[in-house]
């Protein structure tokens, strides 16, 4: 069973033509990661993203000798999206393979490659949904931590913590 076959069998990509899938597979880089191997390291320059084809990863934020698991990613999901859709950023989390993982590496310059646009469009739509879910999850995590730190005085900490972060960027 090849990685390309696994990719074509993912429900999100079943509607793609064989030609589109083959072009995407041949344009990207296929990598295999053993369990416990990092795909992405927090603090590294963010260049490109990984599209997971098989296996499962854990997403951690690390501070010194402490780590906080903030999510997991599996087949069909994109990790390291910051390095694909923005320029000049640094990785904000570490992604580690929990099982054997096969993934396609997508460098930023592939966004301009029109020959793989149909598959990229599906990747982008799925990423939009999964990032929204990650925002919800992160929001909940920050809020729980802030609430635990602040004890009874939760509303003030919430404003100062998550909402402050949120609105430095977006405001609404």
């Amino acid at each position: 069973m090849t990685v390309a076959h696994d990719f074509g069998a993912l429900p999100a990509f079943r509607a793609c033509s064989a030609a589109d899938l083959n072009r995407f597979v041949s344009t990207t880089t296929t990598r295999h990661f053993a369990p416990k191997t990092p795909l992405i390291r927090q603090g590294d320059a963010a260049q490109g993203a990984w599209l997971i084809v098989s296996g499962r990863c854990r997403v951690d934020v690390v501070a010194g000798d402490h780590a906080l698991t903030i999510g997991h990613a599996g087949p069909g999901e994109l990790v390291g999206e910051l390095g694909l859709f923005t320029s000049g950023s640094r990785r904000s989390a570490t992604v580690v393979a929990e099982t054997a993982v096969a993934a396609f590496g997508i460098p930023m310059d592939l966004l301009d490659n029109d020959t793989i646009a149909p598959v990229l469009a599906i990747v982008e739509r799925r990423a939009l949904s999964s990032l929204a879910e990650r925002v919800r999850h992160n929001t909940g995590s920050v809020r729980r931590c802030d609430d635990a730190d602040a004890g009874a005085n939760t509303s003030e900490s919430w404003s100062a913590g998550f909402v402050g972060t949120l609105h430095r960027l977006f405001g609404g």
Partner: protein
């Protein structure tokens, strides 16, 4: 708040209308380029966003009018085309920031389904292009070039937001995370034999400096006891 078509029909003759259209197109392209620049989005062309924004209805707000109210459901988002808005939180409407055009407002709530997390108020006259929740998802599902531009713009914004919240979680990790080995074998090639120096370096803070200095002369030996321990473990 008043609503109008995005391009006001001010010109009368064909030549005037053409000139007006050229000026509007130029303004839209500058707006789109500013949006892309401010979000550091990659893989997006200004014309993609300009095409999209040109087809959206415009909302006009005057000084002091509320654009969003904290806690309300997020039914649409806006591109801020002209003017400045204030972002307020809490019952006392504490001001967090002022945002100037070009900017994108309120998309987070539309994408996540979460209620508005802040109140947004117009500072002076403000012009925005509005996109509804339904329209957003229709465009996102489309394959055309403008849809691609919007998707990537939103993905860039969301990625940056996740990066920002991750940084906040990094601050919280020492109090709420689990303890792990510091910098576990970061630059050590897989399969390399571990020496006593490697072990001591990893734990340098807790070891006596003299012991660290002697580490080069020590070799780790796997003993029968180690094997028995592993079986029992």
């Amino acid at each position: 708040m008043t609503q109008q078509a995005f391009t006001p029909p001010t010109a009368t003759s064909f030549r005037d209308r053409r000139r007006q259209k050229t000026e509007d197109d130029l303004q839209l392209m500058q707006l789109a380029a500013g949006l892309i620049r401010s979000s550091h989005a990659s893989g997006v062309q200004p014309r993609q966003l300009a095409t999209l924004i040109a087809g959206l209805p415009a909302d006009l707000f005057e000084q002091g009018e509320y654009i969003y109210v904290e806690g309300d459901p997020a039914e649409h988002f806006h591109f801020l085309i002209d003017g400045t808005v204030r972002v307020l939180v809490g019952d006392h409407e504490r001001e967090l920031i002022q945002l100037r055009a070009p900017a994108i407002l309120g998309h987070l709530g539309v994408l996540t389904g979460l209620p508005r997390s802040a109140t947004v108020q117009a500072c002076g006259d403000v012009r925005l292009a509005r996109m509804s929740h339904r329209e957003l998802w229709r465009v996102v599902a489309s394959d055309d070039s403008a849809a691609q531009g919007l998707r990537r713009m939103l993905l860039a914004s969301m990625s940056q937001l996740i990066s920002q919240t991750n940084q906040r979680l990094v601050e919280l990790a020492p109090r709420h995370g689990r303890r792990v080995a510091a910098n576990p074998k970061k630059d050590q090639p897989r399969g390399k034999q571990q020496t006593a120096k490697d072990v001591v370096s990893a734990l340098a803070d807790t070891f006596d400096p003299d012991l660290c200095a002697q580490a080069d002369n020590v070799t780790l030996v796997k003993t029968a006891a180690d094997e028995r321990h592993r079986y029992k473990g």
